[in-house]
């Protein structure tokens, strides 16, 4: 049951550390209504995350991140670009051996969003699309028609889409991220590789049912400290779901790598599950060996 130390870890959610993050969550403000979120929180879910990593001003965030990754044996990290040409976009271009990219999509952008995804795929070879349905303005439900051209495009490009599912931390409505909405998407697009992010809570049991039902549905552990991994998910990984559950962190957004990897050895995965969880499933699903 011991976590192996010789597996090159793949982290499906990591970001470039930036000291000044005051404006990172501006996109959410338009939809927040409570005073605490609007006036007191720097990070919209700080009521849950006690030790949001402090990042010092570094001259070279890429070098700093690589150093940290080396320290925790993270061989590769998936970093997200939200627009063509941003810092993450450049990092994946400059360090293809350590970073692979994802492209954040907004179905509200219609065909322009579809074209941006194609461009990111062609220019820097992004390995996935990502989406945060409850954080969009306006919100777009996982099974909303506006998502459908993007799902179709992911199939055409043969890349997964990683989507936040479950109650979102920020104090915005949860409806667009209900786990049950995934059922229809997997039914209509059986070829789509759909990877959930951010826990699927409190419907982790439904997530397990759906993963069993739909061969191309996967789960990643982003935004959860290992001590909070849902029990349903650990059990599933230890039984029929060894090929379905993948590690994703949350640095620097909400969790330090130190916290994550202090907790990690306490997760009761079975021996054969660990390498799949830390590395092999990600290589297969995100086609990292191609």
């Amino acid at each position: 049951m011991a976590m192996p130390s010789d597996v090159g870890i793949i982290d499906l959610m990591i970001g470039l550390p930036v000291a000044d993050r005051r404006h990172n969550y501006d996109f959410l403000r338009a939809q927040l209504h409570d005073k605490e979120s609007l006036e007191e929180f720097e990070f919209p879910v700080q009521y849950m995350f006690k030790d949001v990593p402090k990042v010092e001003e570094k001259s070279d965030p890429v070098a700093y991140l690589l150093e940290l990754m080396d320290h925790y044996n993270i061989e590769k990290g998936m970093i997200g670009a939200s627009k063509v040409g941003d810092a993450a976009y450049r990092a994946m271009k400059d360090h293809p051996d350590r970073f692979f990219g994802s492209m954040q999509v907004d179905p509200n952008a219609g065909m322009d969003g579809v074209r941006d995804l194609v461009r990111a795929y062609e220019e820097v070879g992004v390995k996935a699309a990502t989406a945060f349905p409850a954080g969009l303005n306006p919100q777009v439900a996982i099974n909303d028609k506006k998502f459908y051209p993007l799902y179709a495009k992911c199939i055409e490009l043969d890349i997964p889409i990683c989507v936040c599912a479950g109650v979102p931390g920020p104090r915005v409505p949860m409806a667009p991220q209900r786990v049950e909405l995934i059922d229809e998407v997997c039914w209509y697009f059986p070829e789509l590789k759909f990877v959930t992010r951010h826990g699927c809570e409190p419907w982790a049991d439904l997530a397990v049912k759906l993963m069993l039902k739909w061969p191309n549905l996967y789960y990643s552990t982003s935004a959860f400290a290992p001590k909070h991994y849902p029990k349903d998910i650990i059990n599933y990984a230890n039984t029929r779901g060894a090929d379905k559950i993948m590690y994703a962190g949350y640095f620097p957004m909400g969790l330090s790598l130190e916290r994550i990897f202090t907790d990690m050895p306490g997760v009761p995965f079975r021996d054969h599950v660990w390498p799949k969880f830390l590395r092999e499933n990600a290589i297969r699903v995100f086609k990292l060996d191609e």
Partner: protein, 302 residues
């Protein structure tokens, strides 16, 4: 009358032409509609060989063995009426031959069913690659199961039409066959044109009885067009004729219903009586279709 004749002499485009087939073949073809009807008259077929036959009194038909070369037969018929360009289905062998052998005359169209999911999307991509595809068509009420025009299943189809720059054409309004009309309500066009402003969308089969709404939407959305398929000219909705004569001269185009339900003899006998203004005729008969479907503009026919 003179304006009609001189416009016609410049060429006519029909954006929805079928290959003539025998009665038996057509009866078989309509099985996809019959299976969703519930009334005895439609189901048993006896009275209604054509599922909208209660409305169409003189459906063109051929007996088996009467058509040894449907393409040649069709060309003769088009020539007789001055139709210079026609969109036909290239899923059909005769349609393929027509486009291959007469590329100035015939243009490629296909039909899709969003119930096929990604296979429908790939079908568009494949035909767009293999043919100079001009039209992707759908019949939302006739699909099994039915799929509303604004249903999410249609959205990847619309996106692909934009990507390959091909026009989408659909039946809109109450369908003739005795199946529910809901999937073809005109009001759905608003959402589609909003989300996909680049999509060129051409309505077929009349938009009735919501033609007033159709006119509002044609005015509102630059890439929305109206074609007169399945309507004998004497039944063209007044709203549409008025709109073509005013702000909508560039939006309304002739399309027939041959051979599915109307003969060209009937259509061209009635057309001159439509009170279009002189400037509208060449747009209606030819130019709007050429623009909406990206067909080449033709030199005046002889």
């Amino acid at each position: 009358m003179r304006a009609f004749e001189s416009a016609r002499a410049g060429g006519v485009v029909d954006t929805a032409v079928g290959m003539p087939k025998s009665r038996e073949e057509m009866y078989e073809f309509y099985e996809f509609i019959r299976k969703q009807t519930r009334d005895a008259e439609s189901r048993e077929g006896g009275g209604l060989e054509f599922p909208a036959g209660y409305m169409f009194k003189d459906v063109p038909h051929w007996e088996e063995g009467e058509l040894d070369d449907p393409v040649a037969w069709l060309i003769a018929e088009l020539d007789r009426h001055g139709i210079t360009q026609a969109i036909v289905h290239v899923e059909d062998e005769d349609g393929q031959r027509a486009v291959r052998e007469h590329p100035d005359r015939f243009f490629a169209g296909i039909n899709i069913d969003p119930n096929d999911g990604m296979d429908a999307v790939r079908k568009i991509a494949r035909y767009a690659k293999e043919w100079d595809l001009k039209c992707v068509g759908a019949f939302p009420a006739g699909l099994y199961p039915q799929v509303a025009l604004n249903d999410k299943k249609f959205f990847p189809i619309y996106a692909k039409c934009i990507e390959v720059d091909v026009t989408f054409a659909s039946t809109v309004g109450v369908p003739g066959p005795r199946i529910p009309f809901t999937p073809q309500h005109v009001e759905f066009l608003d959402e589609i044109c909003w989300f996909f402003p680049e999509l060129r969308f051409v309505t077929r089969h009349g938009c009735e009885p919501w033609t007033a709404l159709a006119v509002k939407l044609l005015l509102k959305w630059p890439n929305l067009y109206y074609s007169t398929t399945a309507f004998a000219p004497k039944h063209y909705p007044k709203d549409i004729v008025d709109y073509a004569n005013t702000r909508g001269a560039d939006k309304v185009m002739f399309s027939g219903y041959f051979p599915a339900g109307l003969s060209y003899d009937r259509q061209f006998a009635e057309l001159p009586d439509i009170p279009f203004r002189d400037n509208v005729w060449p747009k209606f008969l030819r130019e709007n279709a050429q623009r909406a479907f990206k067909l080449p503009s033709t030199p005046a026919a002889g």
